[in-house]
């Protein structure tokens, strides 16, 4: 298992190298001059030239890439063209907010999907099944920004129960942190919840038809225990994969939701970097998203082996 994890990590490095080449190449194709964008049109030509040289923008492209990747390998992702802060510190600042939002959203998604998907699988073609399929359709169709605004209008505006936007650090005030998290987490979690509901439904339906469920019933087990230990327990295995993909997607920033709630996450950082042609920040952020995807997938695969004893990982020769 450890060898397997190490081998997967080594593979991840290769993937990251590929991603960074791609990111770098795309950045070269994007029109616009980052120094001009940072300084404005009226900048002093000498300053402009000095900054361009300092950023290495006049070097040949391959050389720029080698310099960047070399620095990145030792944890130096460069300095933001816009603010002058290091990319690493900019990203590190945003990570707690992103973790909170993504974590909150996936919890919301699972809280919707597991009960709703299970209920509809247990009552196929009954009203609860129609309701589940209708609401998952609705959850998929409703745009995030609209849902976010509606939630703000109702819960922050009319009822005044929750703050309308902003982020409070967990270390600062855990209660406020949670109060600020609720609406954005629901907004970001609903569409994942809708996707997962359908998945849970089909997974539970499949699980219900298994022979071992009949065995469990024939043992005289209570219906609730059969459902928990033989239906849901087995349906969970494939759910982990799909939930993992959703989590990785949420971690790489839900830009719209972050905007609606003025949430200082990675999505916003990346979006601002695109707007201002802040190459170092954008490259750093995209690389980080790639790392997140690879890590989440690795964790999912390792969790698989825990959940299903039939799966064992051996290093292939």
């Amino acid at each position: 298992m450890t060898r397997y994890a190490l081998r997967r990590l080594a593979q991840s490095v290769a993937v990251l190298l590929g991603v960074s080449v791609l990111v770098f190449a795309i950045m070269q194709l994007v029109p616009g001059d980052p120094i001009r964008a940072a300084l404005g049109q009226q900048a002093d030509p000498d300053t402009y030239q000095a900054l361009r040289e300092r950023a290495g923008l006049d070097d040949p492209v391959p050389q720029q890439f080698v310099t960047w990747i070399g620095n990145a390998a030792i944890g130096d992702f460069g300095v933001s063209f816009r603010t002058g802060e290091t990319v690493l510190s900019l990203i590190a600042e945003r990570v707690p907010a992103t973790l909170a939002l993504a974590g909150g959203a996936i919890v919301v998604a699972l809280l919707i999907a597991i009960p709703l998907g299970t209920l509809s699988a247990l009552n196929p073609r009954k009203p609860v099944d129609w309701f589940a399929s209708l609401s998952s359709q609705a959850g998929l169709s409703v745009p995030d920004f609209w849902l976010g605004i509606m939630l703000i209008l109702v819960f922050a505006g009319t009822l005044g129960w929750l703050p309308s936007s902003g982020y409070v650090a967990l270390t600062e005030d855990p209660v406020e942190w949670a109060r600020h998290l609720i609406l954005p987490a629901i907004t970001a979690g609903v569409s994942s919840g809708a996707i997962l509901t359908r998945f849970v439904r089909s997974s539970v339906l499949e699980s219900l038809g298994q022979d071992h469920v009949r065995t469990a019933r024939a043992k005289g087990m209570r219906a609730r225990d059969v459902l928990t230990w033989h239906v849901l327990r087995n349906a969970l295995v494939p759910l982990v994969t799909v939930a993992g993909v959703q989590l990785a997607y949420l971690l790489s920033g839900v830009v719209v939701v972050e905007y609606v709630f003025a949430w200082p996450g990675l999505g916003q950082l990346a979006f601002q970097a695109v707007e201002s042609r802040d190459y170092p920040v954008l490259q750093g952020a995209v690389l980080l998203f790639a790392v997140i995807f690879l890590l989440v997938n690795l964790v999912v695969d390792l969790a698989y082996a825990r959940l299903d004893p039939r799966i064992t990982y051996r290093s292939a020769r």
């Binding site: 298994q210 022979d211 071992h212 009949r214 065995t215 469990a216 019933r217 024939a218 043992k219 005289g220 087990m221 209570r222 219906a223 225990d225 230990w229 033989h230 327990r233 087995n234 295995v237 959940l307 299903d308 004893p309 039939r310």
Partner: protein, 334 residues
């Protein structure tokens, strides 16, 4: 003779389907006495498995079950889920066909036997472990303590079926229903499992219902045989009577499809195996008369096509040998 452990009377099972009602079991009756073995024989789709699942309320909600099944003095049909749950495992144990899919792949053997133990009484963790190890030893699994921690995929097919039997025994049932319990196994393993169940039957005095399509198995272990066709009993009797003097054309067909192993003639000169042409009828569109009529090689009587022959004693046989046929022709040995 003692009172029967299980009496099934006029059992009907109908599934609601899009094509209309599918009548899968149509008036099945039998008696099972403690310590005896009843074989229920028939082709796939003849309603054998459905009947046994119906007794314990294990069919899906689209099934309507009518009739009567008295177990241990109590009626099973129409009982509540909770009342049936108490009978499952504790009163009637079941062993199913495919031991790979019938065990949960992600739970340990200990856990799966433990569930059967805990379903009917409170047992401590240590108690479960000790009893589960005892059960594994009883069904002939060596090194039981170590096996408890294994998952099903780590055991061979025969071992898994032994585990299934251990699970079925966990509730100390009076009746064991073995539904094609040896069909998925190698022939040598089959023989071991048959022997095991016979031994356990002797030790525990259980009544055993063997559901099978394998007449070789039936000849080896059954006391009494019920032959099913299209959800009905077409012939029943003591195993020697039924094999020696089969009365129903369907039974004779089945027996004709069985190779005679000790035929002294060289292979090329032996009688060819008889196959029965055609397929069993669609349970959603049963013929008006005898369900076997479309395939019947005899069609001895004009009534066969229009009315259902009742199950009646076979002339010249013991009283319990009965067949549902108008054919009164010569009943001879094979």
């Amino acid at each position: 003779m003692t009172a029967p452990a299980l009496t099934v009377d006029d059992l009907h099972v109908t599934f609601r389907t899009r094509k209309g009602p599918a009548r899968v079991v149509n008036g099945l009756s039998f008696e099972l006495h403690p310590g005896r073995t009843l074989a229920v024989v028939g082709e796939s789709g003849s309603g054998k498995s459905v009947s046994s699942l119906a007794l314990l309320g294990l069919l899906p909600g689209t099934a309507d079950v009518r009739g009567s099944a008295i177990f241990d003095g109590d009626e099973l049909i129409g009982r509540s889920e909770e009342e049936l749950r108490k009978v499952r495992g504790a009163g009637v144990g079941m062993v199913f066909q495919d031991p790979m899919t019938s065990l949960n792949p992600v739970l340990t053997i200990e856990r799966q036997i433990g569930e059967a133990l805990r379903a009917h009484e409170k047992v401590s963790d240590d108690g479960v472990r000790a009893r589960a190890a005892e059960l594994l030893t009883e069904v002939g699994i060596p090194d039981a303590k170590a096996r408890l921690r294994a998952y099903p995929h780590q055991l061979s097919g025969g071992m898994r079926q032994r585990v299934m039997i251990a699970i079925a025994l966990a509730g100390n049932p009076k009746v064991l229903i073995a539904d094609e319990a040896t069909t998925a196994l190698d022939v040598t393993v089959q023989a071991q499992i048959l022997e095991l169940i016979e031994r356990l039957q002797d030790e525990h005095g259980m009544g055993v219902v063997w559901i099978t399509h394998d007449l070789g198995v039936v000849a080896g272990i059954a006391d009494h045989v019920v032959v099913m066709y299209a959800g009905r009993c077409v012939e029943e009797g003591a195993v020697d009577e039924l094999f020696g003097r089969p009365a129903h054309p369907y039974t004779r067909g089945l027996l004709g499809a069985l190779p005679v192993v000790d035929d002294p003639r060289p292979a090329r000169e032996r009688d060819e195996l008889v196959t029965m042409p055609g397929l069993p009828p669609d349970p959603a569109a049963l013929p008006p008369g005898c369900a076997f009529y479309p395939r019947c090689p005899v069609r001895a009587d004009a009534r066969c096509a229009t009315s259902l022959p009742p199950l009646s004693p076979v002339p010249g046989s013991a009283a319990e040998h009965r067949a549902a046929t108008f054919y009164a022709g010569e009943v001879t040995g094979r």
